[in-house]
């Protein structure tokens, strides 16, 4: 875990510094209170903790043998995770132009394939039935205006 902690420490430290610089542009005092105080308490704490994490990571990385690091997902697993996360983001982008009824079965079918479902009929039936049930529940019962497209 050592090396990954160094990465997190550096990233969070950089983020804190970015926010810190922004805080300095806030007005100094207004009506008896200083709007910088609370953000600065938070950012200084986060900066200190990030530095602490990086140092801890550095010390741990020296003790750890090469290859003992808990790995990030690799190969097929990494591809599946990227496809699922990307599928979710693509759903957010496409659900309005495609409409709920078209976009949702595609997302469910994609996720089912990633989770190892191989029977096409089962994938088609489940994704269509689940989408229809969710449409009925959200649109019919909760009156949520789900996205509708030119097609539907």
């Amino acid at each position: 875990m050592g090396r990954i902690d160094i990465v997190y420490g550096v990233l969070l430290g950089a983020l804190s510094l970015l926010f810190f610089a922004e805080t300095l542009s806030f007005p100094r005092s207004s009506g008896g209170i200083n709007p910088r105080v609370f953000p600065l308490i938070v950012l200084v704490s986060l900066l200190g903790l990030s530095a602490g994490l990086a140092v801890q990571g550095l010390l741990r990385a020296r003790r750890e043998k090469a290859g003992s690091e808990p790995t990030l997902p690799r190969g097929k697993t990494a591809v599946k995770l990227v496809v699922l996360a990307g599928g979710g983001l693509a759903y957010a982008l496409l659900v309005e132009p495609l409409g709920f009824i078209l976009a949702t079965p595609i997302l469910i079918a994609l996720a089912m394939v990633l989770f190892g479902e191989r029977k096409p009929l089962r994938i088609a039936l489940v994704s269509l039935a689940a989408s229809a049930a969710l449409y009925f529940l959200f649109r019919g019962v909760f009156r949520v205006p789900l996205p509708r497209s030119f097609f539907w």
Binding site: V42, S45, L46, L84, V95, L107, I108, G116, E117
Partner: protein, 493 residues
């Protein structure tokens, strides 16, 4: 007391919501990889459309049901459905292997019910007293209380105190984005109009807790670490004999009280309570050598204790607005989304909501007994739910849930982005619960700090003058010290 009777009348009229909560809780508790917090997130899209009392009783039913449900998979397949059921594996699974799975589940159900009833009584009698004291708090005391609450984030972290605190402060940092509450000016938006409203609670909750879990389960599945649920043992007879029950009542009563007390202490929770109760039951047993081989007391003790923590954990949540563990942290977020602000004012301004919660919480325990005993024979089927269908549906429900509150596809993308963030957080030992605590308690701490400073004309010493505030600072220091000691101990071991 009249209010409580009105509460029972309300619960009777809305029993279906409580039943859905309990059954939903048992289901998410049974399935390894899902937990009470995920269950509440999955129900969020529905909860926001319900009246606050119904939503609250449904959530409390789910909380208690999930705590019990974890024992089913612990006993049948030696895999605790929730961390709180880990101690139940020790004697539950050996007894199931001997062909007495039904009896093990029956004892777990009875003990869980007893633990839940005792903790519900504690909630009913203790919470109003604590709320009465909390009504006297001013801004300085509230600020100190929030500091105490924020230090809890260090303790609920799974991996290290540094990562727990970082997660919490990162949550506060997220809460700062948007509009400054005192001046009304924009801050940390970096010129992005979308960020003016800050990060909404719903997509963050859904992403960090539920979508991250879908990604983690996909990784486990892809790496071959989970496939099909293994063969489950025979069920056999369900109810323990009268003689067996007579031998268990002391263990159940003692463990229930222990669990309730531990539940009240923030940052403890069901896992700690169940192991402590298991150890105590073995210490006081006449045959300690039989523990680990299928002793009924080894099932009753952890189950009574972990369900005992539920009512205890609700005490600081509803009286002070301070959650004590992961599930109550998620519940706090859900309460704010449905328009219920936990704290002492809840008792004085909307006592009917509190009474409905009390009645619902107590009634949930009897539903657990009923549904628990009825579901014992079908529980192996629940364990065989196909993951290839379950998790895609959870993914879809989560994204729809994120969309439903603001009818915004931006929230869907935000939920997915926080899902990825939550995945890396869980994978590398950061705490999602701490992040949520920071996101919720940060703005309250900032508001109370501003109020205290305005009232004292900018004199910062006002924060340290009140003995109650000082008491909270001491508790905060103790909380961090305790976590630090626990972390060092676990490193040595």
């Amino acid at each position: 007391m009249a209010g409580l009777f009105e509460g029972f009348a309300y619960v009777l009229a809305h029993l279906h919501f409580l039943a859905i909560g309990v059954v939903g809780g048992i289901l998410v508790g049974v399935i390894p990889g899902l937990s009470g917090s995920t269950g509440i997130i999955l129900m969020l899209p529905f909860l926001v459309y319900m009246d606050p009392s119904s939503a609250l009783i449904m959530m409390s039913g789910l909380f208690c049901g999930s705590m019990y449900g974890g024992s089913i998979s612990a006993i049948l397949i030696s895999t605790p459905g929730t961390p709180s059921a880990a101690a139940t594996v020790l004697d539950g699974y050996p007894l199931a292997k001997k062909g007495y799975a039904g009896k093990a589940l029956g004892v777990a159900t009875i003990a869980s019910t007893a633990g839940g009833i005792i903790s519900a009584l504690c909630l009913i009698f203790l919470a109003p007293q604590l709320a009465r004291i909390a009504l006297k708090f001013g801004p300085a005391e509230y600020f100190a209380l929030m500091i105490f609450g924020l230090t809890i984030m260090a303790s609920v972290s799974a991996s290290s105190i540094t990562k727990g605190l970082i997660s919490g402060f990162f949550g506060i940092l997220l809460s700062l984005v948007g509009i400054d509450p005192t001046l009304g000016t924009e801050r940390f938006t970096f010129g992005t109009i979308r960020l003016l409203t800050g990060f909404s609670m719903m997509p963050v909750l859904i992403g960090v807790f539920a979508l991250s879990e879908v990604l983690l389960q996909l990784e486990l599945y892809s790496d071959g670490k989970i496939s099909r649920i293994p063969h489950t043992e025979k069920i056999g007879s369900i109810l323990p004999t009268k003689k067996e029950l007579r031998g268990l009542w002391k263990v159940i009563l003692g463990s229930s009280i222990l669990g309730t007390i531990i539940g009240i202490i923030p940052a403890t929770g069901g896992a700690i309570a169940s192991f402590m109760a298991y150890n105590e039951a073995r210490r006081f047993s006449k045959e300690p050598e039989t523990f680990g081989t299928g002793n009924l007391a080894g099932i009753a003790a952890p189950e009574a204790a972990n369900n005992g923590t539920t009512g205890g954990a609700m005490v600081p949540l509803i009286t002070l607005g301070i959650p004590g563990d992961v599930v109550t942290a998620v519940m706090l977020g859900a309460l704010l989304l449905i328009g219920v602000q936990p704290g002492p004012l809840l008792f004085s301004q909307t006592p009917h909501i509190v009474n409905n919660l009390f009645a619902g919480f107590l009634a949930a325990q009897f539903l657990i007994l009923g549904f628990g005993l009825l579901s014992i024979r079908v529980s192996p089927l629940i364990l065989k739910a196909p993951l290839g269908i379950l998790f895609p549906l959870i993914l879809c429900l989560c994204l729809l849930g994120a969309f439903s509150l603001g009818n915004s596809v931006y929230d869907v993308a935000l939920a997915m982005a926080f899902g990825v963030l939550g995945y890396f957080m869980k994978k590398h030992g950061f705490s999602g619960a701490s992040l949520i605590l920071g996101l919720i308690l940060g703005p309250i701490a900032e508001r109370e700090l501003s109020r205290a400073l305005i009232l004292s004309h900018g004199d910062g010493t006002v924060l340290f003058r009140s003995p109650i505030a000082l008491g909270f600072y001491v508790l905060a220091a103790l909380s961090v010290g305790y976590s630090l000691m626990g972390y060092r101990k676990s490193k040595k071991a």
